[in-house]
């Protein structure tokens, strides 16, 4: 693996000590406090953490910021459950490392060799590859790109990452929701490090998000028509309109009406709809699961 976390860095050569021009004399009014030696005793890190990385492709960094939007929750995640081994600006690692879970942000630009290479490398080196956010999952706003933009006018072809690599799990919406990526991280931890009961719970929880990845990489407000209303499944609860990040959906006489000019194709409406999927085995235990996640984050 070329360049993977260089073991030895070139040490900065110590500056040559300058001869003192005059002896330092301490002014009499300076109060000298005894310097307390702070020994940074590193606590033994939690042994069985999973490793998570974030690969940044053609996205706006909103997904990465969303991870940080967990605030103290992010620290808790990093303290107890996961090591962040790769992420733009957050981790000083230049090349895609081995990791348990790779969150991929952004769609993949086919005209950018590095993007394609890194995406394939991430697939190779991660156990679970997550399309994190709508661009990675569905193309989102990059679906509208036709090239010619400053400062890479030649970058014209952008595809959801599943056009290039196999994807295990989707976290749709633009931006994704901090609580959703937190839940996935906790569940991934339980799946990889938990006992049998926890593994079963995590599997049940993650299944629909994995099924979303199997469903395809095209999303649009039209999904509400094609896969919910046209299928005779809509009961007018209003979730889609409430969830749409760009307010493209209004409820007209109890059914969603999508303003297609506003839709950015993020997939939030359909995946949030209780009639896109509803897994009773998980939902009936909502109180226990929410308490468990809350407990894990305390």
């Amino acid at each position: 693996m070329p360049g993977r976390t260089p073991e030895s860095r070139p040490e900065a050569t110590p500056a040559a000590s300058q001869p003192q021009t005059k002896p330092a004399v301490k002014p009499s009014d300076v109060i000298v406090k005894e310097k307390v030696e702070v020994v940074q005793k590193e606590e033994k890190p939690v042994a069985d953490k999973i490793t998570i990385g974030e690969l940044h492709l053609s996205g706006c960094t909103g997904c990465l910021v969303t991870l940080a939007d967990n605030y103290e929750g992010l620290f808790k995640l990093l303290d107890d459950y996961a090591d962040l081994v790769y992420a733009l600006t957050l981790v000083d690692v230049r090349h895609v490392p081995e990791m348990d879970v790779c969150l991929v942000e952004g769609s993949c630009c086919l005209d950018d060799k590095l993007s394609v290479e890194e995406l394939k490398e991430a697939r190779e080196k991660s156990k679970v590859l997550v399309a994190y956010g709508a661009c990675a999952a569905y193309g989102n706003i990059t679906r509208f790109c036709r090239g010619g933009q400053w400062n890479q006018p030649g970058h014209e072809a952008f595809v959801p990452i599943s056009e290039v690599v196999d994807v295990d799990l989707y976290i749709p919406s633009c931006p994704p929701c901090p609580q959703q990526v937190r839940n996935v991280a906790v569940m991934a931890y339980l799946l990889l490090k938990g006992n049998d009961e926890q593994k079963n719970l995590a599997t049940a929880y993650l299944t629909p998000l994995m099924q979303l990845a199997q469903r395809g990489n095209e999303a649009c407000g039209c999904d509400l028509m094609y896969d919910v209303i046209n299928q005779g499944l809509c009961m007018g609860c209003g979730t889609c309109a409430g969830t749409c990040p760009v307010r493209a959906i209004t409820m007209e006489y109890g059914k969603p009406n999508v303003n297609r000019d506003l839709c950015i194709k993020c997939g939030a409406c359909y995946s949030q709809c209780p009639r896109s999927w509803f897994n009773f085995d998980v939902m009936n235990n909502y109180e226990g699961i929410m308490d468990a996640i809350k407990g894990a984050m305390e």
Partner: protein, 295 residues
């Protein structure tokens, strides 16, 4: 799971607040609980089905006072897309503790939004009280209009109250006329989405309530979650309800169980029938989409 879902207690109850029972559909449970929760600061506001510009067409509103709550009291037999405001309530309205009322499917939507908050940023821990109402099936507004204006021959704007009970859909007008139609005839107007619903008594609500099982003017109340239990006990301690044990009232819990079983059995058949709805070239069945299996 039992057709009635998990619950800690079930009881027949009626609000002691006359201002509320004057306007409420049955026992005034939902209105009283929200009024209590607002008063106690358990919630900062509630998403309820408020009035709109068209008669009997509900529109989701965020209410923060008892007066606003009272304006929204009573049942309208067409769905109010209350989930539309669930994120907005925590944003534009700035609520940290949201109350929401809804049908069983809307309670399912609330729990999905909490467990899988895909597009519901910062909502999951702000749902302070989710109240469910029993629901057999629902109608579009246009269907309700057809029933009231065509079948019952009354103008929407002159109707004072609509009610479903004893196998009939009943319309009471402002001037005292009463029109009825058999519930059976309503079936063709039911929203298709209601035919695959597998929940009658809002199994996923904190507290759910409906008239079935209790005498006229009373409601059957299921207290389900820890949150729901705390609110219910608080409201009871504040003497907001008079109650009767379920085994002391007619028709009692058996009727609730019977109707729940009927609904879920019928709709489970519908869900199963969708699996073999069509035909493939090789002669095997071609199915419609099943939301309970895969997205």
């Amino acid at each position: 799971m039992d057709v009635l879902g998990n619950y800690k207690s079930v009881i027949s109850a009626r609000s002691t607040d006359k201002d509320i029972t004057k306007k409420s559909q049955d026992g005034g449970i939902i209105t009283t609980l929200f009024a209590y929760a607002l008063e106690e600061g358990i919630i900062d506001g509630a998403i309820v089905a408020g009035p709109s510009e068209e008669p009997w067409k509900p529109e989701p509103v965020v209410v923060t006072t008892k007066a606003e709550l009272l304006a929204a009291a009573g049942t309208r037999y067409t769905i109010s897309p209350n989930l539309n405001l669930i994120k907005e309530a925590t944003r534009s309205y700035g609520l940290d503790r949201v109350g929401i009322v809804g049908t069983p499917c809307q309670m399912q939507a609330v729990r999905k939004a909490q467990l899988y908050p895909i597009g519901m940023r910062d909502v999951d821990d702000k749902i302070a009280l989710a109240l469910g109402i029993f629901c057999m099936e629902n109608l579009s507004y246009q269907a309700l209009e057809a029933i009231v204006e065509d079948h019952c021959n009354q103008k929407m704007e002159s109707v004072k109250k609509m009610d479903i009970g004893k196998g009939k859909f009943t319309v009471y007008t402002e001037r005292g006329a009463v029109s009825q139609m058999p519930l059976k005839l309503i079936h063709k107007y039911v929203q298709p989405g209601c035919n695959v619903c597998l929940d009658y008594v809002a199994n996923l609500a904190d507290i759910s309530s409906g008239s079935v099982g209790s005498p006229d003017g009373w409601s059957t109340v299921f207290v389900r979650s820890m949150k729901g239990n705390a609110v219910w006990e608080g409201a009871m301690a504040a003497d907001l309800f008079e109650t009767k044990a379920m085994d002391q009232v007619k028709p009692g819990l058996d009727l609730v169980t019977k109707l729940a079983t009927e609904k879920i059995t019928k709709n489970q058949k519908n869900v199963d029938a969708r699996k073999t709805f069509g035909l493939k070239a090789d002669g095997t069945a071609k199915g419609l989409r099943n939301p309970y299996e895969t997205p």
